[in-house]
Structures are given as structure tokens and as C-alpha cells.
């Protein structure tokens, strides 16, 4: 592949800017909100109330069973006909958070279930309520188990945010596409965008390692 190095060099600026002003904040905001939502949904799925757990199951099924592109589309272009007109950024954050919520809910649910039942019982025997046991005993342990799968969700999210350009949010990949459209050098620009994504993911992976080491300090090695 003969690459146009001048073009690649000069387009680093816009692409990295797109990452910093678009991709990264969008990813972070959606991930944080999505995690909170996922915890809620995971607890709903674990509820003994069939309606509550049914609602949660349906939500997870729809989110995981339909394309993210369509989810974005519905929130940005579909909701206005129901009188809800959100700006691009709020729409994007809502859509990606809902998406993370669906995927991460299953991870968190599995992590909660992976904590031995004896831990709940130990919480109860010292007088804790279900909520207290969950908060102080179960979730801190579930956190450890769920870091690797959640970081997968995180890394997928980084790349998925490129879809936000469909709803007018400017980010890394959109900037690469713009330059590609001007220069007709789409291969070079896409490779360059991929490189920047890769660097972001490498940074995330090393962050994951640090976090895992921190959370692993209380288990035998």
C-alpha cells in the first residue's frame, strides 16, 4: 500500500483532536453512566419479583439484539416525533449509556453471582441487611471479577463511538473521514485512525492492569 506520508503526518492533528474532544469524553461519560445503569439492571434481573426481572431481561435482550446504529437513530431521529428533541451530545451519551447498560448488566450480574453465598451469610450473621451486605461485602468482591469483562465492554465502546458522527457528533473517525473525502486517500486515513484507536486501547489495557493489581491485593497470587 503506497501511503501518502505527508498527508498522514498533517492529519494527525485533527484526528487526535477528534479523539480528545469527541471520542474520549463521549466514551468516559457513557461508560460511567452506563455502569450505574448496568448495576441497577443487574439487581433488577436478580430480583425475585418476576415483573421486575422480566423488564430487565427485556431491556437487555433488546439492547443486545439490535444494532447500536439503530439505537442511535431512534433516539436522535425518532424521538422528536414523540416531542423529545435532544441535542447531539445528550443523544449520543444516552444511546451509548443505554448500550453499555445492557451489556455490562450481564457482566455485573454474573460477578455478583460469582461471590460465594457464604459471603452474603457472613454479612447477615453480623446483622447486615441485604442492601448493606450488597454494598459493603458483595460489590467490592464482584468488582474484582468484573474488571476484565468490563474492560472489554469499555474497549468496544471506544470504537463504537465512531457511530456518533451519524448523529452530528464530531469525533476521531469523523475527522479521518473528512480528510479522506478531501484527499480521496481513505485507506491511509483509516489506517491512521485505527492506529490512534489502538493507542487509546493500549492505554486502557495498561490502566486495566493497574486496576486489576490493586483489586487483587487481597487474594493469594
Amino acid at each position: 500500500m503506497p501511503l501518502n506520508w505527508d498527508l498522514i503526518w498533517s492529519s494527525f492533528g485533527p484526528i487526535v483532536t477528534g479523539a480528545i474532544t469527541g471520542t474520549i469524553p463521549l466514551t468516559l461519560a457513557s461508560f460511567v453512566i452506563g455502569l450505574a445503569l448496568a448495576l441497577l439492571v443487574a439487581l433488577m434481573r436478580l430480583s425475585r419479583n418476576a415483573v421486575v426481572s422480566g423488564v430487565a431481561r427485556f431491556y437487555v435482550s433488546v439492547i443486545r439484539g439490535t444494532p447500536l446504529l439503530v439505537q442511535l437513530f431512534v433516539i436522535f431521529y425518532g424521538l422528536p416525533s414523540l416531542g423529545v428533541k435532544l441535542d447531539p451530545w445528550p443523544s449520543a451519551i444516552i444511546a451509548f449509556s443505554l448500550n453499555v447498560g445492557g451489556y455490562a448488566a450481564e457482566v455485573i450480574r454474573a460477578a455478583i453471582l460469582s461471590v460465594p453465598k457464604g459471603q452474603w451469610e457472613a454479612g447477615h450473621t453480623i446483622g447486615m441487611s441485604r442492601g448493606q451486605s450488597l454494598r459493603r461485602i458483595i460489590l467490592p468482591q464482584a468488582a474484582r471479577v468484573s474488571v476484565p469483562p468490563l474492560s472489554n465492554t469499555f474497549i468496544s465502546l471506544v470504537k463504537d463511538t465512531s457511530l456518533a458522527s451519524l448523529i452530528l457528533v464530531t469525533e476521531l473517525f469523523r475527522n479521518a473521514q473528512q480528510i479522506a473525502a478531501f484527499s480521496q486517500e481513505f485507506m491511509a486515513l483509516y489506517l491512521e485512525a485505527a492506529l490512534v484507536y489502538w493507542v487509546i486501547c493500549l492505554a486502557l489495557s495498561s490502566g486495566q492492569s493497574v486496576l486489576e493489581r490493586r483489586l487483587d491485593r487481597y487474594v493469594a497470587h
Binding site: 457464604g118 451469610e121 453480623i126 446483622g127 448493606q132 468482591q141 491485593r217 487481597y218
Partner: protein, 278 residues
């Protein structure tokens, strides 16, 4: 390290002088689906007494303990704790009738009366030894942290673990973990201590240390129910031995009688098997 009510007691082996037992269980029954696990269990434990629960696997010993600690909800029967709870519990008797619906509040009150020591310790792996011990007093009983720490340190020193204060459970041997488990229960100052096979997950050499601690607690007058397979230990520590089989109390009486000269054939068989004369 003494029973929290601080009352004098008549020693581990004598009959206590008090008329009303601390714990009184009548007609306790429990089934899991079609599997009837407890039928009509009666149990009285007097203050300062030690009751040993023995019996074959599946006979329902664990289910009895779990019912007393509110970890299992029986289908029928009554559980009564006498007098004011020792910690933040209510001021008078606690009487639960499982034939009727019991509320969350009642289960919670029941839990406050006793504390369980588990076979597999069930320490909180993400907390240090000290944090494990003060978690209940501080988070549940809302006691002052400094006070809880001081007390925890005293208890830890008492079981020989003062220097392990800041260790994580995984850094301890099984016997050390179980001693922390005992201290965690003691720190709650419950009316009743429940032990479910506290030494059966331990390396044989580590069993002695834990049994010694339990023996000391008995000598100090703590009220306890202990499920155990260590017959020699039961004989030495228990005021009363109860032999269960198939969800029924088959035989009960002073340790020496039940273990040395069982009246029932089933008890005799069980004792023989445990000494595994292959």
C-alpha cells in the same frame, strides 16, 4: 473476653441456676420442597451452657443453626430468646412463631441475638483482619470506631493474633482464619454463639488451637451451640449433647452419657463409625 451480660455463671459443666433458658425452641420444622429436613425439633439452652449437636451428614444440624440465626426460615415452630438482647436489640423477650408470617424486622432482631462461626470461616477477603472484626460493631451496631478497634484488638490478642491485625485473610492459615471468625462473632456481643463444624475444614494439626479457643470461651461462660464431629472435644466442652438423625432428635443428655453409653442403637452406630473402626 467474657459474655457480655457480665453475669456470674455457675461454670461450664454444672447445671445453671437460672430457671428460664436463654434460648428455647419448640416444634421447629422445615422442608426443602418435598425433602423434610427438620421435624419437630425442641431445644433449650441455658445461660452459660454449651450444647453440642452431633449426627450423620444430612441429619439437619446445619439447618437448625441456620434457623436460629435467621439464615433459613423454618416452616413452623417457635424460637424464643429470653430477656433483653445484649446489643442494640429490643429490650425484652424475642419470640418468633414461624407458623405465622414473620416480618423482615423480626428476622433482623433474631439475627442480632446470635452470631455464627462458619465451617469455611467466610471471612471477608477484601478486608483486613481488623476490618473484618469491626465491620459489625461499626457498620451495623453503630458503635464508635475507636472503641470498636480497641475491643477488637483486645479480642485478637486474646486468640494470639494481635500481630495479624492488618493482614488479609489469604495471608493466614486456616486455623488463624477460623480464630478471626470467632473473634468477629464475639465482637458482636451476641447472647448466643453458634458454631457449625468450626474445625472440619482445618488441617489436622491446626484443629487443636481452634478447639482450645472454644474451650476457653466455654470456661468463661459464653452460651454456645456447637455442631461438631470431634467427639472427644464434645465430651469435654459440652453440658448437653444432642444426637440428630433424619431431622429428628434421637437422643439427648449429658455428654458423658450420650457419647459413652448411648441408649439408642442409631447413636451407637454413629459413634462407632466416627471412630472409623474399618
Amino acid at each position: 473476653m467474657s459474655p457480655t451480660d457480665g453475669a456470674a455463671h455457675s461454670g461450664a459443666h454444672g447445671a445453671t441456676s437460672q430457671a428460664r433458658p436463654v434460648l428455647s425452641v419448640r416444634n421447629l420444622a422445615k422442608a426443602f420442597g418435598s425433602n423434610v429436613v427438620l421435624r419437630d425439633i425442641d431445644l433449650d439452652v441455658r445461660r452459660g451452657n454449651v450444647v453440642a449437636l452431633i449426627g450423620p451428614s444430612g441429619s439437619g444440624k446445619t439447618t437448625v443453626l441456620r434457623s436460629l440465626n435467621g439464615l433459613e426460615t423454618p416452616d413452623a415452630g417457635t424460637v424464643t430468646f429470653a430477656g433483653p438482647g445484649t446489643s442494640a436489640g429490643p429490650g425484652t423477650d424475642l419470640a418468633l412463631d414461624f407458623s405465622a408470617r414473620v416480618s423482615k424486622k423480626e428476622i433482623s432482631d433474631l439475627r442480632d441475638r446470635s452470631a455464627m462461626v462458619f465451617q469455611h470461616y467466610n471471612l471477608f477477603p477484601h478486608m483486613t483482619v481488623l476490618q473484618n472484626v469491626i465491620e459489625g460493631p461499626v457498620q451495623v451496631q453503630k458503635r464508635k470506631r475507636a472503641e470498636a478497634v480497641a475491643e477488637a484488638e483486645k479480642l485478637l490478642a486474646r486468640v494470639g493474633l494481635a500481630d495479624k491485625r492488618d493482614a488479609y485473610p489469604f495471608e493466614l492459615s486456616g486455623g488463624q482464619q477460623q480464630r478471626v471468625g470467632i473473634v468477629r462473632a464475639l465482637a458482636l456481643k451476641p447472647q448466643l454463639l453458634l458454631f457449625d463444624e468450626p474445625t472440619s475444614a482445618l488441617d489436622p494439626e491446626l484443629v487443636g488451637d481452634v478447639l482450645a479457643v472454644i474451650q476457653e470461651l466455654a470456661d468463661e461462660g459464653w452460651t454456645m451451640v456447637i455442631v461438631t464431629h470431634e467427639l472427644a472435644f464434645a465430651r469435654q466442652v459440652a453440658d448437653e449433647v444432642i444426637f440428630m438423625d433424619g431431622g429428628l432428635v434421637v437422643e439427648r443428655g449429658p455428654a458423658a452419657e450420650v457419647l459413652r453409653a448411648p441408649r439408642q442403637e442409631r447413636t451407637r452406630q454413629f459413634v462407632r463409625r466416627l471412630l472409623h473402626e474399618f
